[in-house]
């Protein structure tokens, strides 16, 4: 091949990083152009990596040609390529949206602050890409921290009291979660003597340090992914951030934490055949699904509804563990379903937050009971929200439907009826809280309410993501084939039924 896959790996890291530096150095207008250029170039680059992985299998890249135990190995298999594609599409939409959102209307003093959105977001994007490409547990930690610190900055970027407060709620939990993960890394290094995920997998055993490391890492990641008992920080933080940042947090940051959990559990801990932890994660996930859904029903701010929906949807991913450990064909369905679910949720939730943000931008608030007739006042935005909702509810032909279908199949194949009921019940709850929003929006608007003119820059990116969420459901074959590339499936398949 003339253009080997390794180059895509390097580009996925170098592009956003150099764009971030350029963005800091350049004056305002060219700086925005740099952001948009990077946002346009990254999706094709990720697609290129996907094509390379699909045709040539897993790609490994030794940075500086240092071999694995000493050097840092970058690594792209089907799962990484899919996640990178996901991040680049959502990232592209967020970049365009944000340039409109933090546009020219704000006062010069505010503008200087919101200008900081661009470089910080590009650095966060670098961290995100690095995270999906990391092949060792410490590198995962570093990228996770880059992502965490930048998302805290982004929550606070508007500098208002509410946003700083949201950032302050998020920071201690987020950094604390990372430190739990870091202690797990330390334990693993102590027990295995290496940091590389593949080398560690060969040395994994039932020794107490491995079990303790698992406990710490999973605790840290549960906090960051906001699973049930440690979910309390998510709704206020996600709801009070500026709209593009909410989309980023709910769409990508939560998914990144879930991705690390997938990576370490399939690379390392799948070898620990103690099933109890899987059941525990499954039960916590189920409670999350139901609790998040119930809370979403009770909210009267639209952004809080969408944020609680994230708590509910995150729970689904964790059903993977009990479903997959049943082994056999169920494991494969569960695995495909859970990853597809994470993708479907990321796209649809980002779309939903962008739509809500556009509405808020025009109406000045997101109080549900004052949103009567929003659908008539701004049909395009509501259409975009409704299409995202379609996927969040899991109705055909959306991506959410395909994912839930596969997970349901796994639950039925392995005879775990309880989880099947949770999957269906969560969908019913999602319908309840999303139709509630749509019903209010469809009412006849008050007489004096003028139509809302949403700028195109705020309307189109959300719509693109909503359409993507539906298209992911119709054309699910290609992503699923890409997902099969790499050792992960084989590791789950090895579990005896």
């Amino acid at each position: 091949m003339i253009f080997p896959g390794e180059h895509f790996i390097v580009m996925l890291l170098a592009l956003p990083l150099s764009a971030a530096i350029l963005n800091l150095l350049l004056p305002r207008r060219p700086a925005s152009a740099v952001l948009l250029l990077a946002a346009v170039v990254l999706p094709p680059t990720a697609a290129g990596l996907g094509a390379a992985v699909l045709s040539g299998g897993t790609i490994s890249y030794q940075m500086g040609d240092w071999a694995a135990p000493l050097g840092i190995r970058l690594h792209a298999d089907g799962l990484s390529a899919l996640m990178l594609g996901l991040a680049s599409v959502i990232g592209c939409a967020i970049s365009f949206y944000a340039t409109s959102y933090f546009g020219d209307e704000s006062a010069p003093a505010d503008r200087r602050r919101t200008d900081m959105f661009q470089p910080v977001w590009l650095i966060g994007w670098t961290g995100l890409n690095g995270l999906f490409l990391s092949g060792d547990i410490f590198n995962l930690y570093v990228c996770l921290e880059i992502l965490t610190l930048t998302s805290i900055c982004l929550i606070a970027v508007a500098g208002t009291h509410a946003s700083v407060r949201a950032a302050l709620r998020y920071l201690p939990v987020a950094i604390g979660g990372s430190l739990f993960y870091l202690l797990g890394v330390a334990l693993l290094y102590g027990a295995g003597g290496v940091l590389d995920l593949e080398l560690l997998a060969d040395r994994a055993s039932h020794a107490p340090p491995f079990l303790a490391a698992f406990a710490f890492m999973v605790t840290g990641l549960l906090i960051k992914a906001a699973l049930f008992p440690v979910h309390y920080w998510l709704p206020p933080a996600h709801a009070n951030a500026p709209a593009p940042v909410s989309a980023l947090l709910s769409g990508l940051v939560v998914t990144a934490a879930f991705y690390i959990l997938l990576r370490i559990s399939s690379g390392l801990f799948v070898h620990l055949e103690t099933l109890r932890w899987a059941e525990l994660l499954g039960v916590l996930g189920s409670i999350s699904v139901l609790w998040g859904g119930l809370q979403a029903l009770r909210q009267d701010r639209l952004k809080m509804v969408v944020a609680y929906s994230t708590v509910s949807q995150v729970g689904y991913g964790f059903l993977l563990f009990p479903l997959a450990l049943a082994g056999g064909a169920a494991a494969e369905y569960a695995w495909n379903g859970a990853v597809y679910f994470a993708m479907a949720h990321a796209v649809a939730k980002a779309a939903a937050f962008l739509a809500v943000g556009a509405l808020m931008h025009q109406m000045g608030h997101d109080r549900l009971h004052e949103m009567e007739g929003a659908a008539w006042r701004s049909p395009f935005i509501l259409m975009s929200f409704a299409m995202a909702a379609l996927s969040l509810m899991g109705l055909p032909p959306s991506a959410g439907f395909v994912a839930k279908w596969m997970m349901l199949k796994a639950a039925l194949l392995s005879g775990q009826w309880g989880y099947a009921m949770v999957i269906v019940g969560g969908g019913v709850l999602a319908m309840a809280y999303l139709f509630r929003v749509l019903e209010i929006a469809m009412r006849t608007p008050p007489e004096d309410a003028p139509p809302l003119h949403v700028p195109r820059g705020l309307a189109v990116p959300g719509m693109v993501l909503s359409v993507a969420a539906v298209l992911l459901g119709i054309f699910s074959d290609l992503p699923l084939r890409l997902l099969q590339v790499g050792p992960v499936i084989a590791q789950w398949g090895r579990i005896a039924p």
Binding site: F138, V142, E145, L149, I152, C153, A156, G159, T160, H161, V164, R165, A167, L168, R169, L171, P172, I175, G176, S178, L179, F180, L182, L183, V185, A186, Y189, G190, L195
Partner: protein, 118 residues
């Protein structure tokens, strides 16, 4: 080996203390300190791991990890403190409702002995 074990377990104890502080306190500066406790615990643990190697020299990799970890923790602490300052500035200028996250009266007695923080 027993010395290393002592350091390892001390690291764990410090980490647990920090975790406890993080979830117990609502005072933001105390939370920042708790985060640093947690980090110090992990770092102590890592440094002690380096001592375990049989060679005459300690294992350098955990030390490199500690250096990276320190950079991250210092940045996080700085960010947290800046946000705390910003929080109080905006609270004054926007005359927002009294801060529920932290019950201290003003910046001067952040680390003072007020006990309503817990």
């Amino acid at each position: 080996m027993t010395t290393a074990a002592l350091y390892l377990s001390t690291g764990l104890v410090v980490f647990v203390l920090g975790t406890f502080g993080l979830f117990w306190h609502s005072n933001l500066v105390r939370r920042a300190l708790s985060l640093n406790f947690m980090a110090a615990g992990v770092f102590l643990f890592l440094v002690a791991l380096g001592r375990r190697s049989p060679a005459p020299f300690p294992d350098p990799i955990p030390h490199a990890l500690v250096l990276t970890g320190i950079v991250v923790t210092v940045s996080a602490t700085a960010l947290l403190l800046v946000l705390v300052c910003r929080y109080h500035e905006t609270a004054e200028s926007e005359s927002a409702p009294p801060p529920p996250l932290r019950e201290g009266k003003n910046d001067a007695n952040d680390e003072g002995p007020e006990d309503n923080a817990t």
